[in-house]
């Protein structure tokens, strides 16, 4: 049982990753990955929301009228997202300013409702909670990978610290300039594509025949 519970946590990290295998949550993966710091906070916020919405919905699963279950899910998720937003505003104000509207948009993240509908309504609270944590982490890990490349090649920095020396830049007499395309959302999509490509060539069972 313990190993089965653990599998709920680890499966979404690679083999059943929400972003690169289930192709969910792509929209926000494009929006908040220009820099690493907001990507990490966004990943953690989504993790909190998926974990607790899974937990709450799993606790409620026997009492929820199936005809209005989607509305109930939406109410639970929206409540959690508003709470996360309020807490961020009260305790890490500068980060919440950076994420601005994207915290509110966690509500529309397909991963959250997808996991509630597909997992939490059929499983016990603890398993559902772990599944939520796992999917949140799986999402966060992809965000961090994308943000790493976009910030490094788009701005020459990591976490806001300069990695590529100023002296190499064209403006300072060097040969290097930042890749402007990296700063735009389409590049995130291309990076997601590259990650999926690399991931599938290592995990042959995921390849479609």
């Amino acid at each position: 049982m313990a190993s089965k519970s653990l599998k709920n946590l680890t499966a979404p990290l690679s083999g059943n990753n929400p972003v690169i295998v289930q192709i969910l949550g792509i929209c926000s993966a494009l929006a908040v990955t220009v820099q690493l710091k907001p990507a990490i906070v966004m990943g953690l916020s989504v993790m909190v929301v998926t974990a607790f919405s899974n937990l709450v919905m799993s606790l409620l699963r026997n009492g929820v009228p199936s005809r209005i279950r989607i509305i109930v899910q939406l109410v639970v998720i929206a409540t959690l997202v508003i709470l996360v937003d309020q807490v961020l505003k009260a305790f890490v104000y500068d980060v919440s300013k950076q994420l601005s509207v994207y915290v509110g948009l966690i509500i529309t993240n397909c991963i959250v409702m997808g996991r509630v509908e597909a997992f939490a309504l059929q499983n016990k609270p603890w398993d559902s909670f772990l599944d939520g944590i796992g999917n949140g982490l799986g999402y966060a890990s992809i965000l961090v990978i994308i943000a790493f490349f976009r910030e490094l090649f788009g701005s020459g920095t990591l976490f806001g610290f300069r990695v590529i020396p100023e002296s190499l830049y064209l403006a300072e007499g060097g040969f290097y300039s930042n890749c402007g395309l990296m700063l735009f959302p389409p590049m995130a999509l291309i990076i997601v594509g590259c990650i999926i490509w690399a991931h599938r060539s290592f995990n042959k069972d995921l390849q479609e025949k």
């Binding site: 009492g63 929820v64 199936s66 005809r67 209005i68 409540t79 709470l83 309020q86 505003k89 735009f184």
Partner: protein, 239 residues
Amino acid sequence: MKFNTNSNTYIIIYSVVMVVIVAVLLAVAALGLAPRQQENMLNEKKTQIVKALGEDPATVAYDSVISKAVILDASGAVVSEDVKEVFAALNDLKGSFAAGRFPLFVANTGVVVPLYGAGLWGPIWGYIALGTDMNTVKGIVLDHSGETPGLGAEITTPKHQAMYPGKTVYEGDAIVGVTLKKGGADKNNPHEVDAITGGTKTSDGVTAMISDCLNYYKPYFDAARAAATVEAESNTVNE
């Protein structure tokens, strides 16, 4: 299962209970966290005002540099000196400007003017500090809600904001502000700084914002400059 979870009565009772619980929960959270959130917002404004004056907010307190906060009317006369009212006016700066209420922070070393304008994607705002001559820029703080990261959003970087101090905003008797010049500023022009490469629309927005907002305060600046000239002249006479 005791209940038929698909009966209409059950569904209606379920929804009502759910909505009430959620409403109570959110109301408690919002009320409980509101003081902290407002304090954060107030602190951020104070920090930016101190920063605009070229001081380090980590070591210099707002109260030690700003001697008074006032609201001016269109003729430059003080209509309020209530600090709370001034900060309330900052919360809706666009509306305050439209209503002819212009908040201003007076420091011993100059004044801080709040700015509000339009960037490429959304609003931009900030604070600009002028020296006691009401002409020389002491510093600027710029912020935005949704400019393109790496391009327009570069206006928030220290590198960009470091170009402003020492520039002047008066050309003769007119306020021209500081222009963000595409292709690089003319070093001999005291009213120009470099625009953001790839952020032309945002740069134009900042240019317009600085000149528009400073012109709201022109009567006050003119009066202060006239007073300074008179004082300087009377000093010469006395000597």
